[in-house]
């Protein structure tokens, strides 16, 4: 599904050029559950931004289902993020003035879904993540774990091909982190492709495959036996 070849990303820091990604080759098939690990500054977040269509590579090839995402213009990238990708962030990134339901509706609004089916879909998703009774709650009326589940429901709104999660358990305690990971596993079992960026070895260990980054290069790529 994802084919990345010789991907580089170079940032200019004043006069210096810093290579966040220095030639990455990666293949991710449909239905995979990949944990991307590495110390901070290793390029794993940059990779996630490029895979998610938030950023463009300096050079290299990024094919998503046969489409050259690296060549998309801004609008194409926006639609790509809207329909193909679901994002889950460490800090949830829910809009505080909106209810859980309205937050989940957001991607559907940008997809142009009419109000009626939109509300029904958002409700269904919240039920699926176990928050069917909390649809009218504002984020500040929900616990951290519940907020992250709203964020996951939102990420699933347009039935994306790929769910990208950046330290999804980073802001959660042990128990709720486990719940979120359990939810990811259920989603993966239902066929969703998952890429999680984490530096938590325990989280990485629960993925089916681990890709390790150091200095913008892949230094490790192995399948976890247990999964």
């Amino acid at each position: 599904m994802i084919e990345v070849k010789d991907l580089t990303k170079v940032y200019r820091m004043g006069d210096e050029e810093v290579a966040a990604l220095a030639g990455v080759d990666l293949h991710i098939g449909r239905g995979e559950y990949v944990a991307v690990t590495g110390p901070s500054g290793s390029g794993k977040s940059t990779l996630m931004n490029i895979l998610g269509g938030l950023d463009r590579p300096t050079d290299g090839i990024y094919m998503f289902e046969g489409e050259a995402v690296a060549r998309f213009d801004d609008d194409q990238l926006a639609d790509f993020r809207n329909r193909r990708i679901g994002f889950v962030f460490q800090s949830f990134q829910l809009l505080p003035r909106m209810s859980a339901l309205q937050n989940v509706e957001l991607p559907l609004i940008y997809a142009g879904v009419a109000p009626e089916p939109r509300r029904a879909r958002a409700k269904e998703l919240l039920e699926r993540v176990g928050l069917g009774s909390r649809t009218d709650h504002r984020p500040n009326q929900l616990s951290g774990g519940q907020q992250q589940r709203v964020a996951i429901a939102r990420a699933l709104a347009n039935s994306p091909d790929l769910l990208l999660a950046d330290e999804p358990t980073g802001a959660l305690d042990q128990a709720t982190g486990q719940e979120v990971l359990a939810l990811f596993e259920t989603l993966n079992r239902d066929g969703l492709t998952l890429v999680i960026v984490t530096h938590d070895a325990a989280v990485a260990a629960r993925a089916k495959r681990q890709v390790g980054f150091v200095d913008g290069r892949i230094v490790e790529d192995r399948r976890n036996a247990a999964a």
Binding site: G52, A78, F87, R97, I109, A114
Partner: protein, 412 residues
């Protein structure tokens, strides 16, 4: 349907900060209210002047003595003090100028009028028999004096409606004796009611009588030597003759007054249409000026909107980043913020319009100032506030749309 959602986002953002939104819109409220009120005042003035001038009569030419004789020429000692036009001039115009339907000389003064104990101070006009025709005035009851009575200077008078009411509260005034100053007159008619003039003057507060009867004895004095008059009213038969009649009158009077070619006239001939035009142009300039001053405050209101929108963009950077991550195009973000600015300014414009209108009406009723509220003020001020919102919302919205989603998401 995506547009409708964007409007909802904008409305929600405005509702999220009610005080801030209200204060932001206030600039436009004040601006639009000022524009509406100022142009209403200007238009009111314009209407008032127009009414006042056209109330004098149609196709009318007014000849008056010219006192301003500054500059070259032999210094005629009496030029500034002595009135230069006479009833002889009026007769000459009637006899020699073609296309004239009525000519009347006039003198006027203020005098006490007494009848059966009642007492009233009013404007007394000494005029010719054709005066009513020239001025488009009518007789309410009784009759106007005729040419013979006018020439003989008979002591007959017509009362304005106000004077009639003050002197004869019980009604019938015809045939009654009154005294104008110390001179006895007989009332032969009451003028048709004319109401207030554009300048707020009661046009029914006057008395008219034959010129010969009034001159010297009532409104006379040193300035009215011989047969001098203050005004000669000349009514042209129709509008197309107006310019020619004016020219003929001028030439005739120059001839009669023996003014050599090149010298200035010692009288002035004014055509009401041209007076009207000139004063309309003047009040129009006044209106535009007032409107322009008020428009400046509208621009200031726009700057306020831009300021707050820039604050909003920087406050909501993370929200913008998130929306982009979830699939908002740059144009969606642009429209959302532009709509917010436009909604604020148009709402301010509508409120300002209502306030401006109310203010103008209030001035009209309380201040006795005829503020003409123009109907076009509504679409104009809403259109203007729309433009203000677009212009001053453009830059903040553009800034929002140009944000890098990754940077924006990282912002605390």
């Amino acid at each position: 349907m995506r547009r409708r959602e964007l409007i909802r986002f904008a409305a929600a953002a405005i509702a999220a900060h009610p005080t801030r939104s209200a204060l932001t819109a206030l600039g436009v409220v004040i601006g639009v209210a000022a524009v509406v009120m100022m142009t209403s005042i200007g238009l009111g003035a314009q209407q008032r002047v127009t009414n006042a001038i056209s109330g004098l009569g149609t196709n009318l030419i007014v000849v008056s003595p010219s006192f301003a004789r500054a500059g070259a020429g032999p210094a005629r000692g009496a030029a500034g003090t002595q009135i230069s036009i006479s009833s002889g001039d009026a007769d000459a115009i009637r006899a020699q100028v073609e296309g004239v339907s009525a000519v009347s000389a006039a003198v006027r003064g203020q005098s006490q009028v007494v009848a059966e104990g009642a007492n009233w101070n009013t404007r007394v006009e000494g005029v010719g028999a054709d005066y009513l025709i020239a001025r488009d005035l009518g007789v309410g009851s009784g009759r106007m004096f005729d040419d013979v009575e006018a020439r003989q200077g008979r002591k007959v008078a017509l009362l304005g409606a106000t004077v009639a009411k003050e002197l004869f509260p019980d009604g019938d005034s015809l045939g009654k004796r009154i005294r104008v100053g110390s001179v006895p007159f007989e009332v032969i008619g009451v003028l048709a009611t004319k109401g207030q003039s554009g300048f707020g003057q009661d046009q029914d507060d006057l008395l008219i009588a034959p010129l010969q009867a009034v001159r010297s004895r009532v409104v006379g004095g040193r300035r009215f030597r011989g047969d001098a008059v203050q005004q000669i009213y000349v009514k042209a038969q129709d509008e197309t003759q107006l310019d020619r009649v004016q020219e003929d009158v001028t030439n005739l009077l120059r001839d009669r007054h023996r003014i050599r070619p090149g010298d200035d006239d010692d009288f002035q001939v004014q055509n009401l249409a041209s007076i009207l035009q000139a004063s309309q142009a003047a009040t129009q300039t006044f209106t535009v000026l007032l409107g322009a001053v008020a428009a400046v405050s509208l621009v200031v209101g726009g700057v306020g909107i831009m300021n707050i929108m820039l604050v909003a963009v920087s406050e909501r950077t993370r929200e913008i980043g998130l929306r982009m991550a979830l699939g908002a195009r740059r144009s969606d973000v642009l429209y959302q913020f532009a709509l917010e600015a436009v909604t604020l300014s148009v709402a301010g414009g509508i409120i300002g319009l209502v306030i401006g209108w109310s203010g103008a009406l209030l001035m009209a009723t309380l201040g006795n100032w005829p503020a003409a509220v123009a109907a076009w003020a509504a679409p104009l001020s809403i259109g203007f506030s729309l433009i203000v919102g677009l212009v001053f919302g453009a830059y903040p919205s553009w800034r929002a749309a140009q944000l890098d989603p990754i940077e924006a998401l990282r912002r605390e």
